[in-house]
Symmetry: none
């Protein structure tokens, strides 16, 4: 039988015992002890070794007993402590006088409050699905709650059964149209301010699962807006295998940085990750008199990003590269960015760019309509 | 009777039920739920509302039932989950197929490991969560009890279920505004005195877990206020991997100190850790006639700080550097500090600065709005 060794003769109801087990966490309630009373820490076997100790004894002659209160409190949860053998002996046999009722009540209260407070700590698993799409060439992707929600599980649950959209619903303007960039920038900033910023400050949004599909410049801008917001999981559309989830398995990609031979008046950053951008395509726009830094990998290709570790590695490399370029110029010099990179990488680039300290970025976009790169937006 | 509403007919032994109550902490084991099953959170009354749910049903025709394993596992602790009414219905009636055995086993294991891990935390290791935030650029970070408490575990547990906040709740004043620094300094000092100083002296606060997000000058001031208080764990927001915890693994970072060629009338300290600050940006403000000491590392970058050992190393280096600079000047000479460093490092700098013995510090803040560094506060 459980608890057979309790020193009292009172039959304590199972209901009371169960509540005490939960409130105590099955651990000794003597101040500072906390030993597990349902597992042998040596053999790891689970069995009960708890004692039910009366604070006011259940008989007037027992420890802290009282002619009236002993019988009243005999089956009262507030009068029973869960203790290990050692501390049961201590309070009931060895040092009875040193353990008055008030001391034990204090210990019990403090322990139960602690167990309640810490078991209530629940890793937040609610996430808000945020989407951002803008026309890429002739393609308009589909990003709906139904198609995306599966990519939150099992780490997160959707906090609400719809998405928070930062883009235009169905814009007729294409990225070759002149007004495209100004319109989209305005829409993105306003939607961000209205639909996200306030909720984040109010802390009603605690975690964001981000799904985006847009031209590089707008993705970078999106990253800038999300800059310091801690809990954002940036999803990446992967072609093979088809998914929106980067793997947690570590994949090593060596980033290579090529530096220009001289510090010229204008400076460009060639990001050749999903494809290779030839420097001639940059000098064609900025003239030969520009310094070009290049960030690339072995065999650039559009589906190389598969793992969160690759995203982290990029983050470190681009941060160091921003610092290095800045150390050769001033914080006012414009850095011309020519990007060929996956979606999540573009967003990450925006997130690591520091508004107070970093050089302004002029972002170019590859578009065949213009026979090459086209100057689009400024990040500053 | 307890557990009368379980859908099965198996009589589960009381011994098994008691172990499950302890292992689950009396909380719903469905991932993300964690609701207390022995207390009504509205009326605060204690009573049982837990369901015992079989993972593999106790009859072959039930949810996840099996002709052989159903009877074998009917009374097995490893096959029974403690659930609330909602999630019991969900897994047994509404979405049976979506809840296969392996998913439920995973939830049960994760929940029981969490409860065991947190109830095992030494009862003396309680800590108060102190937050400090002030606007950095356009971003206002989120620092709530819910988002931070997990970073205390497993070394500490929260002493109370709320945070002690030293900053303004939602200030409209930005760090480019003129009144920003005086307002924030006043708020920080007053809140520190009112909300912390007394409790620390009274020893009702024994350990502080500090989470801060603010411009460098205010973080240094915060460090100065915490100067003498021994038990403060300074947390650092790390981008990759995303956490507020510095690792206990030792990481070696070599700090490099560059000394000026001559002792001129004014003296500056260039701290290039999270980014490189060019000396021209300092002489632009202080004139060419100033001596500049530089403290830097290989490849400065904003996420270099990952380990407590790096923080300790910095502490030693900056202490020695303060002494050296002071030996060439007087304790009345103002030291102009130009900082680019991680949050925890800024706080540490403030903590090692000795109010009685060290030179007064004039702290500058990088802000592109002012085309470079901006003089902010004086520490003396």
């Amino acid at each position: 039988m459980l608890f057979e060794k309790t020193m009292s003769t009172t039959q304590i109801p199972q209901k009371i015992i169960k509540l005490l087990l939960i409130k105590s966490g099955g651990r000794c309630q003597y101040k500072g002890c906390n030993i597990s009373l349902y597992q042998d820490l040596i053999t790891k076997r689970f069995f009960n070794k708890a004692y039910l100790a009366h604070i006011v004894a259940d008989s007037p002659g027992g420890p802290r007993g009282d002619s009236v209160r002993s019988s009243l409190l005999a089956k009262d949860l507030s009068n029973i402590m869960l203790l290990c053998d050692t501390h049961h002996r201590l309070i009931d046999k060895i040092e009875v006088d040193e353990h008055p009722e008030s001391l034990l009540l204090g210990m019990k209260k403090e322990q139960e409050e602690r167990i309640d407070r810490i078991t209530a700590i629940n890793p937040n698993s609610q996430s808000h699905i945020v989407t951002y799409k803008a026309n890429v060439g002739e393609h308009t992707p589909v990003l709906t709650y139904e198609t995306l929600v599966e990519f939150l599980l099992p780490e997160h649950y959707p906090a609400q059964s719809n998405t928070i959209d930062l883009g235009l619903t169905d814009s007729p303007i294409r990225d070759k149209d002149e007004e495209f960039w100004t319109t989209e920038m305005k829409v993105l900033e306003e939607n961000f301010n209205q639909r996200l910023k306030h909720s984040i400050r109010q802390q009603s949004i605690k975690h964001i699962s981000l799904f985006a599909f847009a031209p590089m410049p707008l993705l970078i801008k999106l990253g800038v807006l999300l800059n310091d917001i801690q809990n954002v999981e940036v999803h990446q559309p992967i072609r093979n295998p088809k998914t929106w989830n980067l793997t947690t398995k570590s994949i090593k990609t060596t980033h290579k940085v090529k530096k220009p031979k001289s510090v010229n008046s204008s400076v460009a950053l060639n990001i050749s990750l999903s494809a290779t951008i030839k420097n001639e395509r940059i000098t064609k726009i900025l003239s030969d008199d520009c310094s070009i830094y290049t960030l690339t990998i072995d065999k650039p290709f559009n589906d190389y990003l598969q793992s969160k570790s690759q995203l982290q590695d990029f983050s470190v490399v681009i941060r160091q590269l921003f610092n290095e370029i800045k150390s050769n110029y001033t914080t006012q010099t414009e850095l011309h960015v020519f990007p060929a990179m996956p979606i999540a990488i573009a967003i990450e680039l925006g997130r690591v760019w520091m508004p107070k300290a970093d050089m302004p970025l002029i972002i170019y976009d590859q578009n065949k309509t213009f026979d090459g790169f086209n100057k689009t937006i400024k990040i500053c």
